[in-house]
Symmetry: C2
Amino acid sequence: MSAHPGLAYPCLDTPRERAVGYDAVMETELAPARTGGRLVELGPGLALPGFTLTLSPNEEAFGEEEEADFVYKVLSGAVRTTRLLSDGRRQIGAFYLPGDVFGLEFGPVHRFSAEAVTQTDVAIVRRSAVERAAERDPAIARQLWTLASHELADLQDHMLLLGRKNASERVASFLLKLSRRAHSRVIELPMSRCDMADHLGLTLETVSRTMSQMARSHAIDLPNARRVVVHDLEALAA
Amino acid sequence: MSAHPGLAYPCLDTPRERAVGYDAVMETELAPARTGGRLVELGPGLALPGFTLTLSPNEEAFGEEEEADFVYKVLSGAVRTTRLLSDGRRQIGAFYLPGDVFGLEFGPVHRFSAEAVTQTDVAIVRRSAVERAAERDPAIARQLWTLASHELADLQDHMLLLGRKNASERVASFLLKLSRRAHSRVIELPMSRCDMADHLGLTLETVSRTMSQMARSHAIDLPNARRVVVHDLEALAA
DNA sequence: CGCAGGTTTGACTTCACTCAATCGGCGTGG
DNA sequence: CCACGCCGATTGAGTGAAGTCAAACCTGCG
């Protein structure tokens, strides 16, 4: 689960074995620590019975092409959704922080795999339960559409970022988004430089250099590698 | 509608005036040629009353931030959805070809503007009619989810392309997708090199060079600038 | 203390961008 | 019919932003 051969692609363990053998993880349906049932609040006024479980760093919640049988909500920690090219190049679709719902699909299968960035508690609800609730109650259906809507909006913003922004604009946009989301100038980065790079379509070195440069120009403070104080990024974010 | 000042950004007319004054186009609700009512088939078994209209090249169907009151289907021609950065950099989200549905939003407003690439006939259906139909008939609701699902899948594929593929992989993927969609090795490109570039996150020169190189290596034929015969692109598409 | 992981920094390379000239097809008007 | 101009596409030369490879640097931990 941790050792792996010297692979061309830089960061992260299990880039390859995941792609071929991830289903082993789920073979007992939900292998990791599964605690008792409870009500899970997927959105405002959208509470459904479900379970919670704990994922250790880099552990998978679900894999690409797997049946999308559950909907997830982050309780603590952070989750990333990833997609791989056959040669190991990786794209991180999004990061999900406490309160965020992920794994909500339109189709029958997941199009990304989802892994814990750090130790993470997630709540899960059976998709069938969600769908039944949505059919019963139009307000719930609307809630789900709102969730999907925000997700899609993020995705489209990100497409513009990947297609047309340069390195410092990408990093600035990303940090700014985290800062807004946290309602704070001080942000704690749960993810590595490599995760950021794979999200922003850059290399980890470029991310690091860009952040150092931002610190030098006092656009941010960087008390340590995983903590950022945002000062003046609006102008850089394009 | 065609003359415009010398602008930093290369291609296409009305890059700037669109962003500020597009609503003028729609001020009479639906200004362009609007022909009589008819049944519009949005999906298999999803026919609703609507209208058809004709858009001339570069004419807008709707603008970013506009109310999403209609759902559209391409009857002939081609449509692109675009998003602009304040300095004019442009990202084309997707191209829609005959049979494709676009403008279907989760939220109340459009997040992209949509413009005709060439002269284009589109059918439009009131969104409220679509929503009412979906509430009446779960099969229709499922149809809509399927449409949304495919759209999202495309978007996610495209994110991987923009984040992690190089120029020739991008162009190859794009041409291959068009070829599959047309069920033909011979494809007719309705869009300019610049449109392709703004979709693929490249410059028009790089797109042109890449296609020339593919022709030289016999991966494609290029009988003329707007026609491509696909021979051997799978290996290049990554 | 020493190792392992992630991070930073440096030197060098390269892929794609920029700027600019040329080409080619098409429509218009002499 | 041909010449001209226009617009998009192509090609070339040179540059630069980000990538690659590699070394050094932290920081936490056994």
